[in-house]
Amino acid sequence: MDMHRRSLSAPAGLAGLGLAGPAGAEFALNLPPPATEIAQRIHDLHTLILWICFGIFLVVFVPMFYALWRHRKSRGHAAHDFHENPRLEVAWTVVPVLILIGMAVPSTSVVLAMKDTGASELTVKVTARQWKWEYEYLGTEVRFASNLATPQAQIENREAKGEHYLLEVDRPLVVPTGSKIRLVLTAEDVIHAWWVPAFGVKQDAIPGFVRDAWFRVDAPGTYRGQCAELCGVNHAFMPVVVEAVPPERFAAWLDEQKTARAAVQAASARDYPLAELVERGKAVYAAHCAACHQESGKGLPGAFPALDGSPLVKGPLAAHLAIVLDGKPGTAMQAFAKQLSDLELAAVVSYERNAWGNKTGDGVQPREVAALRK
């Protein structure tokens, strides 16, 4: 699709008022450029419907505005006395039926294509959690979480906003180009929706149920989207980023992930000094805990408890580990046992026990976490 039809460059007028948004803002008027065949067909369907609506608009409103102008009392127009016309009334019932059939036929064929998730070459399981996506490449051991990468300082206007503000993640979903990718989606807590506009895929991820969707993208590139179903306080901060790479690069990437996974397992097999655990824990905390409990450990009053000074965190180690591993049902506190490695869990718990005002001086080793998993 050509770019000039899609967007007009930002007029200087608003900038002159001192109101314009930061660079990168644009007056996009239509669906984003399609990257898949389905998105292209949706785009074309939308264009078709828009033209039909525009035609109907003219047919209805040109006569109406003509009458509003010509048949005014102030011009001396006297009212005619008619209030029925069976032939006309039948016509304006039947003609719309025909138009609707004309719309239904192409729509139906796109629906059937969208629903056809068979014969896929790669299946990725997508698990949604408040407020991140987890991707698992079925048939391999590769699994990772994808978090918002935009710094809190940009959101709070303390730093200039980057080009992909709110649409950037730490680890994107990587897929090969030219392959039919099937997504199977579920959620752990509340309903989320995985959406990449350029793919024409939006599918709710529903706790306790599995839904599927598919896409095939041909052009390598980075494609961005967002969670589309209200999922709580950080709903706006749960982007989806997909990186489509040529198949050879994808295969290499997958191997790297497997090697990295083995390294993580090896790293979890030994003990660490407390200071190193705390240091590693700080990074884990920032990625997985700070969205709710905040970097300061003060939480958000009324919504998320503070960890700084928390009796649970400063109390016995077992209870602290239990809530991190298993979560707290009915709240936003997730079970992290499956999400993080033994080392990451040990590190983050050690960090929480020694950060801010919590100077307990004790920590936990990866092997102790591993023992609890059994």
Binding site: M64, A67, V111, M114, V190, L300
Partner: protein, 523 residues
């Protein structure tokens, strides 16, 4: 009623607060409903001002994300249940007895109770802002499991919605009974003014679906507190089932909020075209078919939940069918205008704007009916644009037009026509500046219900916010015009509008406290 009863004027009633608390008079109760809804309209509108202020620029400026979610949820809930629905019941109270030549509503005491439940529910909802954890932040649609994560305010919301539902059901029963039993002799069903017809059908919709809403929020309540698992997959329940039941209520609810608006527009246009409504019979059938279809389209709110292909196709086709009776109504309005003798007092301006702008909302509805396009646009600002074109420029602007139309009858004074025209143009222009760009935002990929957004959405959000502030300020002018008209003004005369032909215009303005104690003769 007893037509042989000797007419004797007894206009005495308690004065002061006792009058309003104990009144069983349809005019008093209609007035109460209308003031209540105006107050809620301004309050929920103020919430929207904060929403637009936060969205003026990317980044978080005024409110934190939790507070933002509370604002959007409560804005929706209060506008629907506090502003639009009570306003239409207020119109029904004032106008149905006057238009069918009845002395009052069929159940005057029930009528009093129906109204006085509203402030109770309103107080509960307002109080919920101040309890620990804050007001409802899970969207007005209350989807579980997110709804389960809320605090005490969520239970208060359930209770408030129950009370509002009770009020609506009783009001609807009262309206149905009044219309079916208290029409003046000679007024057959097919001679009723169209406004009365639309309310009759709306009242049946209310009786049919408000209990469904009551059921589904009760299930939420028992899931929250009594260990049931209706919507909890871990206990064998299904969160999507909530959406099915909710929208089985929710879609007819949409028509509950638009059919009386059609009735108002169908009253105003013939008056100012000085011509009979075109296609009265087909209007009645169109309203009835819209009401019937509303029961079989609910899942079009849920296309992205994932449903069998047959389900998606069925709900798509059924939804598209609604375009036909809706089209018939628009064509009939245009034909009524055609070759009339038109004048453009404020009510007519609003009615014409409703026809145009509601049609725009109808077009975006048609776009959203198509499953593939809906999957792109579901939960984006396109949907926000769509439902404000049908609910603001459809329902709310009809209500405002109706107020201008009947205010002279209700108060005995003409409103300030010059200010009315100003209010119209400010509202219509600001409305379009606010909501038209939202179509583009949705197409470009901006999700709804977010306090912060990517940079590419900044410009249109800024425009929408500026429009929104003007739209909000313009409604202060409306309040001023109404108050000014209530307090005095040029005498309205019995028949304020020369083209009007319904029964209320045969009475003095304002009508006596008890009117039509002897039923008028209809030929």
């Amino acid at each position: 009623m007893d037509a042989t009863l000797a007419p004797h004027a007894h206009d005495e009633h308690p004065s002061g607060l006792a009058r309003w608390l104990t009144t069983t008079n349809h005019k008093d109760i209609g007035t109460l409903y209308l003031w209540f809804s105006l107050a809620m309209f301004m309050f929920a509108g103020a919430l929207a001002m904060v929403i637009r202020a936060e969205l003026f620029q990317p980044g978080l400026q005024l409110v934190d994300p939790m507070q933002f979610n509370r604002l959007t949820s409560m804005h929706g809930l209060l506008m629907i249940f506090g502003a639009i629905m009570p306003a239409f019941v207020g119109f029904a109270n004032w106008q149905v007895p006057l238009m069918i030549g009845a002395p009052d509503m069929a159940f005057p005491r029930l009528n009093n109770w129906s109204f006085w439940l509203l402030p109770v529910a309103g107080a509960l909802l307002l109080a919920s802002f101040f309890v620990p954890g804050g007001a409802l932040a899970a969207g007005w649609t209350m989807y579980p499991p997110l709804f389960m994560q809320g605090g005490i305010a969520y239970d208060m919301t359930i209770l408030a919605v129950h009370v509002l539902g009770l009020s609506s059901i009783m009001g609807a029963i009262n309206i149905i009974t009044t219309i079916l039993n208290l029409r003046a002799p000679g007024m057959t069903l097919m001679k009723m003014p169209l406004f009365v017809w639309t309310w009759l059908i709306t009242a049946y919709l209310l009786v049919a679906v408000m209990p469904v809403l009551a059921a589904v929020i009760t299930m939420l309540l028992t899931d929250r507190h009594f260990g049931t698992h209706f919507f909890n997959a871990a206990g064998g329940g299904d969160p999507v089932m909530f959406q099915h039941i909710f929208w089985f209520f929710g879609h007819p609810e949409v028509y509950i909020m638009i059919l009386p608006a059609f009735g108002i527009v169908s009253t105003i246009i013939p008056t100012f075209a000085r011509k009979k409504l075109f296609g009265y019979t087909s209007m009645v059938y169109a309203v009835s078919s819209i009401a019937l279809l509303s029961f079989i389209v609910w899942a079009h709110h849920m296309f992205t939940t994932g449903m069998p292909v047959a389900g998606q196709l069925f709900f798509m086709y059924a939804t598209m069918l609604i375009a036909i009776p809706t089209g018939v109504k628009v064509f009939n309005w245009v034909a009524t205008i055609w070759r009339g003798s038109l004048s453009f007092e404020t009510p007519m301006l609003f009615a014409v704007a409703v026809v145009c702008l509601f049609t725009v909302g109808g077009f975006s509805g048609l776009v959203l009916a198509l499953v593939p396009v809906d999957i792109q646009l579901q939960d984006t600002y396109y949907v926000v644009a769509h439902f404000h074109y049908v609910l603001f420029s459809g329902a709310a602007m009809s209500i405002i037009g109706g107020v201008y139309y009947w205010l002279p009858k209700w108060t005995g004074h003409r409103y300030d026509e010059r200010l009315g025209q100003w209010h119209f143009w400010l509202t219509t222009i600001a409305f379009n500046v606010t909501f038209f760009p939202m179509h583009f935002l949705g197409l470009a990929g901006m999700p709804r219900r977010i306090p912060d957004y990517a940079l590419q959405f900044a410009d249109f959000n800024q425009i929408a916010s500026l429009g929104g502030f003007v739209l909000g300020a313009a409604q202060l002018l409306f309040v001023y015009i109404v108050v000014k008209c209530v307090r005095g003004g040029e005498p309205a005369g019995d028949k304020t509008w020369d083209g009007a032909d319904t029964l209320e215009w045969t009475l003095p303005s304002p009508p006596p406290y008890h009117s039509f104690t002897t039923p008028p003769k209809i030929d």
